[in-house]
Symmetry: C2
Subunit: 221 residues, 2 copies
């Protein structure tokens, strides 16, 4: 990680939803940071220092299990918030890790200042609450999928979600990450990907995947 330039004061969640008068204070308390591909932005279990807003790049938010196993909770991109779970009422430890999937620039803000911002900007707090409500719905939907769907369905769902997020039928992701995102192993993903290719539902070349038949993929969900 290294320090990077100043913030444009209009991209992130905070700048968008706080009162205009507050922006000056914001400007004094945020800091751009740059992370190389593969670098850890924050680590599960470590004391919360602040909240991050993603400016450039892609990040995975994941929970580790031992040394080998991993579950990707979500992917984040420009405009997304990272580290917001740190605001809970319990002890202030990050409950997930965040790792840069490509070179990434984030805007970092001290947790105390962010909380002060919330106290002062009730519209901001309300927006953040809505954001949490949405994330909670999604997390619970995923829980159900993990229990009741087979891996093929979860992979189909994962591919469609990643495509929606990238706003494109074509995107890049490693099978390893796909496995961690669908809650399964590399080998199983490898096999099902082969099957989807055979059925001409998707096309793959290296890490690049293209969705050919969205409708048919949807049927597996």
């Amino acid at each position: 990680m290294k320090k990077a330039g100043a913030c444009d004061l209009k991209t992130c969640f905070l700048c968008q939803f706080c009162m205009p008068e507050w922006i000056t204070a914001v400007s004094d308390n945020k800091q751009h940071l740059f992370y190389k591909k593969g670098e850890t932005i924050f680590q599960e279990g470590v004391a919360v220092t602040g909240i991050f807003f993603l400016y450039e790049g892609k990040v995975k938010v994941h929970k580790q299990w031992g040394a080998e196993k991993d579950l990707i909770i979500r992917f984040a991109q420009k405009g997304d918030i990272l580290g917001h779970r740190g605001l809970g009422s319990g002890q202030r430890l990050y409950t997930v890790s965040a790792t840069a999937l490509e070179d990434t620039t984030v805007c970092f803000m001290d947790i105390a200042f962010f909380e002060a911002s919330l106290k002062v900007n009730s519209a901001l707090t309300f927006k953040l609450m809505q954001f949490y409500a949405d994330e909670l719905q999604e997390a619970e939907r995923k829980m159900r999928n993990l229990v009741h769907m087979d891996v093929k369905g979860r992979l189909a769902d994962a591919l469609l979600e990643i495509s929606r997020m990238h706003n494109s039928k074509q995107f890049s992701i490693s099978r390893q990450d796909l496995a961690s995102f669908a809650g399964t192993t590399y080998e199983t993903i490898y096999r099902i990907i082969q099957e989807f290719i055979q059925q001409k539902l998707i096309e793959a070349e290296g890490k690049s995947i293209t969705i050919l038949q969205e409708k048919k993929l949807q049927k597996y969900c």
Copy 2:
């Protein structure tokens, strides 16, 4: 469901955290409702009408999958909020169902009035946001458990969580619900329960379960 008496204006989340001046308005906008054991309080997929505060009884919050399968997201008891996921920014449909596990009294509040309460009481919104943050952490922890833990571990975790919630080593729950809570089938739960009994980790008589050796159960988690 039938209507029940008035609210004591001090038990629920809303009454506890809103401004005292607001209580009068609250009083005019809430309504006690009574549900018999087994009754549905609200149903996944149906338009959100309001938010519920649990006054008496136990409720399961669950997501259905087809007609047969079910996943219990959480249990709720006195003081807990129900239907709060309805506040998300998307379309206003309940994303989970709530069913009374015993005779239950709730306080119901129209969603529009509750949102007005949030707009006016920023401390309340902040508290609610924290509550969401905690729920999100818990949901994500459960997701990881579903992927990486075996059923024995998830059952141990479930038993300990239910015990913690009841604030007692002894509690009542059907194996069916235990299965839905741990994300598995009745038969599997039945077998592991037998095993735990053999190992003298728990004791069971009908639906009543008593935890004998918390520490050893913990080891499975």
